[in-house]
Symmetry: C2
Subunit: 123 residues, 2 copies
């Protein structure tokens, strides 16, 4: 039994100014919403941390959730996409690396794809 798939995306080498700009980060997330045809429930929630801080965004989806956190001081953006639409079928491919490079200047993008709800996943 697998109830969903979660992508943990950690992007490195991003431009700090892009990571501090809510509109830039939000545009990237909206691209994910459109590309994956995600259905957002209510309004997404956004928070800009003060001064040199980053931004956080959360989307409640009928398919689960989508989240972003940025760390300008480290040049890092992390995204979670938890999606229960595809079950055990293959999800569509997404060009994470090219997209994060174009939007944020990322030089390295690590993607982990993890099943959710599968018994015995403890590592």
């Amino acid at each position: 039994m697998t109830v969903g798939t979660e992508w943990l995306v950690d992007a490195h080498g991003c431009r700090p100014d892009a990571l501090r700009d809510l509109a830039t980060v939000r545009a990237l997330l909206e691209l994910l919403v459109v590309r994956y045809e995600l259905r957002v429930v209510g309004e997404s929630a956004w928070h800009k941390f003060p001064g040199e801080g980053g931004v956080t965004g959360l989307y409640l989806l009928t398919e689960s959730h989508l989240a972003v956190h940025t760390y300008p001081e480290h040049g890092i953006a992390t995204v979670n996409l938890y999606c229960c639409r595809w079950g055990t079928r293959a999800a569509p491919e997404f060009p994470w690396e090219a997209t994060f490079a174009a939007a944020l200047g990322a030089t390295q993008v690590d993607v982990r794809t993890l099943p959710r709800g599968t018994r015995g996943m403890t590592a």
Copy 2:
């Protein structure tokens, strides 16, 4: 460089009626907020899916985010706690198994603890 720790908690064998009850699921999440001394930004967002469906809850935290999704038809609840407070230090231990057993009747609780923002995490 590690910017945070993420716990992926998948609880199995839960009572379907508990997984459909927003107040029950919310009480469990509030317990996590209190226990970890999490700082919630704004209001948490909740959604009850119609009929026999489960519930979804999202918290935007100053420390990142907390999310829950339940699947009554499978007896499964999944929780994400993404917390950037402790960095590379050990986070406090939480009795996931006993807590999910007491709140939802879970018979098996799988916990994955994953670093975020560490280069080269791709599996």
